[in-house]
Amino acid sequence: MVLNIGPQHPSTHGVLRLKLTVDGERVTACEPIIGYMHRGAEKLFEVRDYRQILVLANRHDWLSAFANELGVALAVERLMGIEVPERATWLRTGMAELNRVLNHLMFLGSYPLEIGAITPVFYAFREREKLQAVMEEAAGGRMHFMFNRVGGIKEEVPAGWTRRALETIAEVRAGMKDIAQLIRHNDIFLARTKGIGVLTAEAAAGYGASGPVARASGLDFDLRRDEPYLAYGELDVPVVTRTAGDCHARFECLLEQVYVSLDLAEQCLSKVDTLTGPVNTRLPKVVKAPEGHTYAWTESPLGVNGYYLVSRGEKTPWRLKLRTASYANVQALSTLLPGCLIADLVAILGSMFFVVGDIDK
């Protein structure tokens, strides 16, 4: 029997459709059908100048807006040969890590919710709210920060912001203990996730999966450590890995990455306090990237995001190709789901941590 899950299904975080072939309760084949949320972002990039691209790039993965802006900004800066002031780099790194925490908290709350545990989402959102307030104070937005600019960040942070941000980081770290205690060793949660949806390291690598999903399968790869950008080269980035590759391992990876990110953000913001100087560079009135091409990739919260920028010297790019983490990660579903029970389907789907906007672009 062919069974359609979605496009409208609460566990798909948007509009993802899975065409399942089922034999009784068991899934025999799965074909993810994507494109229901295609907004033509890459085509729109070709008719927008570089500042306007940041607005759009912001939105393909709405849970990691800062990381998305950053990738575009880094690509353009590299092509134009702009050196970003040190203070801006450290601020960017710190805020990128805070954004990672925001993203992970969302999934730490929504994943248990999808498999029937309602309470953790309230704890996760309580912590999210605190961090969103911190980001809002500096950037003015709670989700779509629009704080990066080519050559730095939009403006200096308000006086006392780093102190308040550091206080909030400490608060969130304390609050994380609650979330971990609430669900991590919960017997029902373990029964639903241990040994379910095992993704092997080979399959993960074969599909180009990255981020927490791949690291839970033992794929020890993190661009922050392996190909440092921003200020990561000067930081010691511990890479959280697991070997089990099941839903629980993916969840644990996410959980521990939050602690890592909070530590990194703390280090960055403490460093910012020791730096003085501007946070952006003076740009020509019309920003034009010189003819050429470059590929910038960043460790976005959900995995590797790549930005292939081809410029013909115009004020708009000739082509800006996005390589998004979610797109590669959901591809693995076609090997992950066959053989599993329908009852486990939502548990596996939720543990792949994707944003549909990031798949369809």
Binding site: T119, P158, H185
Partner: protein, 172 residues
């Protein structure tokens, strides 16, 4: 962090979780009493765009730079006779300035590019409408938001001071 220690005794994880719930139950609630108590929003919050009409020269920069072209500007030229001047001057008169908030992406580019500081962010957010067409705010409506624009926050002393501050100090 202790690994798999809770797995040994069945039900321990559940009890741990219930412990957290109990702890939270004894603490005051986080609920914000929103319609009764207004949220405290930072001055940089991007809520609505306010227009200082007198500053606008109808240069169209904002309308051109807007990523989804949701700003509509109409203007005409008027000749002004200035007593004592050799020639009459040309002046742009703003007829219409409207922002369609049903299209706006709240990126703030219009405010950033405005060379004469005619546009400002206000944290005001309570302007939901029953009819989407009413989200098109004309210049009177945009002007009313000016009263809600807060003063910008002071910059971090380690960084560079705000543009406005440097400009003001130069004048002195």
């Amino acid at each position: 962090m202790p690994e798999d220690s809770a797995k040994s005794t069945p039900g321990k994880g559940l009890l741990q979780g219930l412990g957290v719930t109990l702890k939270t139950m004894l603490k005051p609630a986080h609920t914000e009493q929103y319609p009764d108590v207004q949220p405290k929003l930072p001055p940089r919050t991007r809520g609505v765009i306010a227009l200082q009409e007198e500053n606008c020269t109808s240069c169209m920069l904002c309308a051109r730079e807007c990523p989804d072209w949701c700003i509509y500007i109409d203007s005409h030229k008027e000749t002004v006779e200035v007593p004592g001047a050799a020639r009459p001057r040309q002046k742009n008169v703003l007829d219409r300035f409207a922002i369609d908030f049903s299209l706006c992406m709240y990126c703030g580019i219009c405010i950033e590019v405005c060379p004469f500081d005619a546009l400002y962010w206000s944290p005001e957010f309570e302007y939901a409408e029953h009819d989407i067409r009413n989200l098109l705010h004309e210049k009177d409506h945009l002007g009313q938001w000016m009263a809600t624009v807060p003063p910008p926050p002071a910059h971090d002393p380690n960084g560079e001071p705000a543009k406005e501050q440097t400009a003001a100090e130069k004048k002195r």
